[in-house]
Symmetry: C2
Subunit: 179 residues, 2 copies
DNA sequence: ACCTGAACACCGTTCAAGT
DNA sequence: ACCTGAACACCGTTCAAGT
C-alpha cells in the first residue's frame, strides 16, 4: 500500500523536478504553447526524457498547475460557507480568471479542462453552479462547461492592455445568469 | 481611374480564383488552420503562388469570407429599421455566430478581426451597440471588442454536439448587457 | 509579370542505442 | 529502469531559376 505516487529512481526524480521547474518558468514567459524542446533543453535533459515523464503537453500542464487546481477545488466549501452560492460562483470564477492572467500556461490548461464535464476544475465549479441553481438564483439551462467556455473566451490570447476588461466581462456573464 | 481592383494577367486571375475556390472548400472541411500547402496543391498551383496572392493566412481568410463580412455590414441598417437597437444587436450577433458555425474558417477570421476595434466586423457591430447604449438599453462600460471576445469564445473549437448550446450562451451575454 | 518548387527553419514525436 | 538525441514527419516561408 502506497500513496499512489510512484517511487522514482533518484536521477529520474531529479529530472522530473527540473522539468516541472523549468516548464513553470517557461510557461510563465511564453505561455502554454512554448516548445517542449526548449523546456527539455532548459531542464538539461533530452527531449525523450520529457516525453517519458509527460506523454502529452497536457500532462505537463496538469503537473505544473496541480497546486493551483487544488486551490480552486479547496476554495469551494469555504466560499459556500461565507456567502450565497451565486456570489460564491462569481468569486470562484474571478479566481479562475486571475490564475489564467497570472500564470502564463494556466489558460492553456483551462482551455482543455473546461471542455470536460468531469475535469477537476469543471467539477469544482459545478458544485457552486448547481447550488446556485437549486437555490433559484441562477438560470437552470446553463452548465459549467458552458460557463467555462465563456470564461475561457475572456482570457484566451488576451493582450496586457485588455486585462483590465476582464472583470467587466465576468460581471456581464454573471448578470446574464441571474434569474 | 479604376475601381481599385488590380487587373491581373489571365493566368494569374485564374490561379487567384482557383485558390479562393479551393480554400473555401478546404476551410469548410478542416477549419481555418488547414495547411496552406494543401490549398495550393488542391488549386494546382505552387505554394509560392499562394503566397504571392495572399501574403498571410489572414489575407486568404478575408478574401474567402469577403462576401459574408459584406452581408454582416449590410445587415446593420436594415436591422435598425425593423427593431429596437438591443434586439438588432442580438439578431446581428446570432448571425455572426451562425456564420462561424456554418463556414469552417469564418471563426478563424472572427478571431483576429474581433480584436481590432476598426475591422469591418467590429465597426458594423459597434454601430448597433452604440445605438443601444445611447438609447439606455445596454450598459455603457462594454465595447464591441469586449463583446466579440465573448462571442468568439462561444464558437471557437466548438464540438458538433455543443452547437445547440450557442443560442443559450448568446442570450446569457445579451441579458447580462441589459441595464 | 508571374509561376514553380527546392531549400531552409522549426517543432512534435518516436525509438534504437547506450548507461 | 531510465536517458539520449538522431531520425522522421510535417508545416510555414522565402527565393533563385524559369517561362
Amino acid at each position: 500500500m502506497d500513496d499512489g505516487v510512484a517511487v522514482l529512481r533518484a536521477d529520474a526524480q531529479r529530472n522530473y523536478d527540473r522539468l516541472i521547474h523549468t516548464a513553470t518558468t517557461i510557461f510563465e514567459v511564453q505561455g502554454a504553447s512554448a516548445t517542449l524542446e526548449s523546456i527539455a533543453k532548459g531542464a538539461g535533459v533530452g527531449i525523450g526524457t520529457l516525453y517519458r515523464h509527460f506523454p502529452t503537453r497536457r500532462a505537463l500542464l496538469e503537473a505544473v498547475y496541480a497546486d493551483r487546481v487544488a486551490k480552486l477545488v479547496a476554495r469551494v466549501p469555504s466560499l459556500l460557507q461565507k456567502m450565497s452560492p451565486d456570489k460564491a460562483l462569481l468569486s470562484w470564477l474571478e479566481m479562475t480568471v486571475d490564475y489564467s492572467l497570472q500564470y502564463g500556461g494556466f489558460s492553456g490548461l483551462l482551455e482543455v479542462a473546461s471542455k470536460e464535464k468531469d475535469s477537476p476544475i469543471t467539477s469544482a465549479g459545478s458544485q457552486l453552479l448547481t447550488k446556485a441553481q437549486e437555490a433559484g438564483l441562477l438560470r437552470n439551462d446553463v452548465t459549467m462547461v458552458d460557463l467555462l467556455r465563456l470564461i475561457n473566451g475572456i482570457v484566451v490570447d488576451i493582450a496586457p492592455e485588455d486585462v483590465k476588461r476582464t472583470n467587466t466581462l465576468v460581471s456581464v456573464i454573471i448578470t446574464g445568469l441571474k434569474t
